[in-house]
């Protein structure tokens, strides 16, 4: 699964940083029918976790109300240099992950 992540490359210790992630996904609601009238199985990204140097800083549980290609934005406090790791799964069991590193000064 393709995703774009944006984390500031550098930050000062204690600074509040903005983290953004966009994932390419159809987010099939499960309410739609195909051309033959058969229901299309629900398939949405149901869970997304973001860890900062191993500590969970953000978790999202999504359902059929979220539009296709979900875009999430949240904040964290820069504490130490390291890595943000994003992991998510959809209803079909497909997993995706993305990572971004940050250098903290001061």
């Amino acid at each position: 699964m393709l995703a774009r992540v944006r984390v500031p490359r550098e930050a000062k210790r204690g600074e509040i940083i903005e983290i953004r992630i966009a994932i390419q996904h159809r987010m099939e609601t499960g309410f739609r029918l195909d051309n033959f009238g058969r229901p299309i199985a629900k398939n949405v990204i149901n869970a997304l976790v973001c860890r900062y140097n191993g500590t969970e800083v953000f978790r999202a549980e999504m359902g059929s109300g979220i539009a296709a290609n979900p875009y999430l934005q949240f904040h964290a406090v820069a504490e130490a240099s390291g890595e943000f790791v994003f992991e998510w799964t959809d209803d079909a069991g497909e997993r995706g992950s993305e990572r971004a590193s940050i250098t903290v000064t001061g």
Binding site: L2, A3, R4, R6, R20, A22, Q24, M27, A68, N69
Partner: protein, 217 residues
């Protein structure tokens, strides 16, 4: 949403296109980057000149058509299907390199006949609704059609992320949707009729900056 590089969902396809640009394809095992180099240099301004005439076959091609010609002729790969993720990604990536540059809208002499057919098509009433493109997008833009504002019908942001589609789509997909809207028979993808219409639209929108990937409702 469109101006924000990150919030623009179309950028997901551009990112995908950037990866494909460097991925070898076909029996020659060549990637786009091998011949064309860095897209930021080699592809800058290219999208402003399409649709254009393909010198080899003397036919009119749009950007998607050019990508596929490159694949079949030079990479010896299979042509990508219309509206496939990969074709949209590559054409969006190439068109994105021209972002902000004005559409040239120049019609070379050898395309004059195609252009005139496109102009005729634009002004011809079609379908059960008996409407021509011009009646909505030239004479009545800015007014509302039920709850929606009628656009000026420019193609400078395509391939565009359309909220209704929840996906990126080509100009031809949008044009076909208009055919459907006026209850006319939809031409097949890459039909001469659609390409000529694209050519006329490029001339009509000359000078407008390329906005690919646009975001439209």
């Amino acid at each position: 949403m469109q101006a924000d590089e990150f919030a623009n969902p179309g950028m997901l396809w551009v990112t995908r296109g950037e990866k494909l640009w460097r991925t070898p394809a076909g029996s020659t095992g060549a990637a786009c980057a091998q011949c064309h180099g860095e897209a930021a240099k080699g592809m800058r301004g290219v999208a402003t000149r399409y649709p254009a005439r393909d010198a080899h076959s003397a036919r009119l091609v749009n950007l998607e058509g050019r990508v596929n010609l490159c694949r079949t002729r030079h990479q010896k790969a299979e042509a990508l299907a219309h509206e496939s993720e990969d074709l949209l990604a590559l054409s969006a990536y190439v068109a994105h390199q021209s972002r902000g540059m004005p559409i040239s809208g120049e019609v070379p002499a050898e395309l004059r006949a195609s252009f005139e057919r496109g102009r005729t098509q634009y002004h011809k009433r079609i379908g059960q609704m008996n409407l021509a493109c011009t009646q909505c997008h030239q004479q009545n833009w800015g007014k509302t059609l039920l709850a929606q504002t009628i656009s000026q019908g420019h193609g400078n942001a395509y391939p565009t992320y359309r909220l209704e589609w929840q996906s990126l789509g080509s100009l031809q997909r949008r044009l076909r949707a208009c055919y459907f809207g006026v209850r006319a028979q939809m031409p097949a993808y890459d039909a001469p009729e659609l390409l000529e219409l694209e050519l006329y639209l490029a001339w009509r929108g000359r000078g407008l900056p390329i906005e690919t990937p646009g975001v439209r409702r």
